[in-house]
């Protein structure tokens, strides 16, 4: 479904990705962990096309997309959420989701019929709002919503284009305990066939949803395996888990 091979990226003398490889089969539940500055978000930018790798390839369903822009990769089935909320703050929840669905189905070429009459698009937008538990906020202006609720919409927008591969960048960043629990449920309820790759600091969440974990350190893969293998790895315990998950 999705494959990255030997991704390398340097900014000047700073190597932020050193030969990272990754495979996500259909329905994958894969987590990326690692200390701050280990290159997690850089890896996401390489996978989603916001950065071009110096070396290595990215494949979506066997097709080499390494040279494609983020929008072309999104049309090929890969999209992402962002670590910092990256929304349309002055639209309502429903309007935001509707425009995202509209982009997903390529409705933007229609320039004569009023958008509000695209009932099928609005129906799908409402369905996504239900999936991300935002039905009570359909008509609320996004910028006025609590932070955690905006975080949910962050994922909703990505879901709106019905991706095959979804990258979530720290979905619980900055959330309270309650909000984190809500987000964990939301992640657990994501469509089963979706290949999911998540950067997450909260190890409880990671061990909860992930079936595979990649540990990054200084831009390279320190370890990869099932949660049990990662938990058991002495090197990971020493370099990463030991310091944060106490």
């Amino acid at each position: 479904m999705f494959r990255a091979e030997g991704l390398c990226k340097s900014f000047g003398a700073l190597e932020v990705a050193r030969g990272i490889s990754l495979q996500l089969p259909r329905g994958a539940r894969h987590a990326i962990v690692g200390p701050n500055g280990s290159g997690k978000t850089t890896l996401f930018n390489l996978l989603s096309g916001e950065l071009r790798p110096d070396a290595g390839q990215v494949y979506i369903e066997g097709r080499d997309v390494t040279s494609l822009s983020p929008d072309a990769r999104a049309r090929a089935g890969l999209t992402r959420s962002f670590q910092k909320n990256n929304l349309f703050p002055d639209l309502t929840v429903l309007e935001s989701l509707a425009v995202a669905v509209g982009i997903g189905v390529g409705a933007g070429t229609i320039f004569w019929r009023p958008f509000v009459r695209s009932t099928e698009i609005y129906r799908r937008a409402a369905a996504i709002a239900e999936r991300i538990r935002l039905t009570p906020f359909l008509d609320a202006v996004v910028g006025t919503l609590p932070y955690g609720t905006q975080r949910q919409l962050e994922i909703g927008l990505a879901l709106a284009i019905e991706p095959k591969i979804l990258l979530l960048d720290e979905p619980t960043a900055g959330m309270s305990a309650d909000e984190t629990a809500e987000m964990a449920k939301l992640i657990a309820d994501l469509p089963g066939e979706l290949a999911l790759l998540v950067i997450e600091h909260d190890m409880e969440i990671v061990f909860d949803f992930a079936r595979r974990i990649t540990v990054l350190d200084y831009g390279s893969v320190l370890a990869e395996g099932t949660p049990a293998e990662i938990r058991a790895s002495p090197e990971v315990r020493r370099r990463y888990l030991g310091e944060t998950a106490r």
Partner: protein, 317 residues
């Protein structure tokens, strides 16, 4: 960006059209000529509002397309002897082609770089026509033939008839733009303006949309330019000088970016102030400047934004 419910926009649009019709009815020769001028400025301002207010692309060279439309019409009618009825649409199409090429080159630029490059293209156009002898250089060209509207029993040389025709065209442009803005296309364009990065991450081919907006805005500016050449029968490099681009941007900002109707009011105010103040005092530019500054400081969203805020607060009471 102002967010205007279509129902509210329709009411204001009807009120504006009624005001324009009343002004036409009660005006004499000079006043009706002024109305024609305002209608042209309004089309020009609406086209720039599409680009700046909805598309988020701030241009200081929009007069280039206004001027190109007028010059294309002049060239087609005077040199190639085309009838105005055929030359008008072709002039607009040709300008659209130029916009497509320029847009393709510059559409990826953002912020101050986009502003400066549009300014540069505008000034290149001005410098070309100021030098070029074929189109009369700095002195321009006159004697552009007018559209024959005798089937409608109208004569464009008559300011009353011209004003009616220009008002009709402005109304049609408004209706078309309102449709465009409310459409899925318009929704995607606004989304790109609000958050280009996110729109791209969702799979939107952002550059295509921006290029489409740039080209449509240029063609509507060209339409306004051809009407101007029809009104005066004359083209000169002044049509595309950069201060002309600046003035139309001021009209849009006074009226309210992204409100479509606000820029019409801005165009009317600016044109009227220009005429009546310059007749009264040689310092009229200073007064216009003070007026512009006051609007920006007191009503950041322009007149339309201020109006919307007033009605909103009254509803809350």
């Amino acid at each position: 960006m102002n967010r205007i419910p279509p129902a509210q926009r329709r009411i204001v649009a009807v009120a504006l059209l009624a005001a324009a019709s009343a002004a036409w009815w009660f005006s004499g020769y000079a006043g009706q000529d002024r109305i024609g001028e305002i209608a042209i400025a309004a089309i020009f301002a609406m086209s720039l509002d599409l680009l700046v207010g909805y598309g988020g692309m701030v241009s200081l060279g929009h007069a280039l397309f206004f001027g190109l439309g007028a010059y294309a019409l002049a060239g087609l009618t005077l040199f190639l002897k085309w009838p105005p009825a055929a030359a008008l649409p072709l002039a607009i199409l040709l300008t659209g082609l130029v916009a497509l090429v320029i847009g393709r080159l510059i559409i990826h630029l953002t912020g101050v770089f986009f502003i400066m490059v549009t300014l540069a293209f505008g000034q290149m156009g001005w410098a070309w026509f100021a030098r070029d002898k074929v189109f009369g250089g700095i002195g321009g060209l006159s004697g552009i033939p007018q559209l024959d509207l005798s089937i409608l029993d109208a004569d464009l040389a008559n300011p009353a008839d011209f004003a009616l025709v220009a008002l009709t065209v402005a109304t049609l442009v408004y209706l078309a733009l309102a449709r465009l803005i409310d459409s899925p296309f318009g929704a995607v364009v606004s989304a790109v303006h609000r958050n280009e990065n996110r729109a791209r991450a969702l799979g939107c081919p952002v550059q295509h949309y921006k290029l489409a907006v740039f080209t449509v805005a240029a063609m509507l500016a060209a339409l306004a330019g051809t009407l101007q050449a029809q009104r005066t029968g004359f083209v000169s490099p002044d049509l595309l000088v950069w201060t002309s681009s600046g003035e139309v941007l001021i009209m849009v900002i006074i009226g309210g970016l992204g409100s479509l109707l606000g820029p019409i009011v801005g165009a009317a105010l600016w044109t009227l102030l220009h005429h009546y103040l310059s007749a009264v005092t040689p310092y009229w530019m200073a007064i216009m400047g003070a007026f512009f500054i006051a609007i920006v400081l007191l009503a950041g969203e322009g007149l339309y934004g201020a109006l919307a805020r007033l009605t909103r607060s009254r509803r809350r009471v």
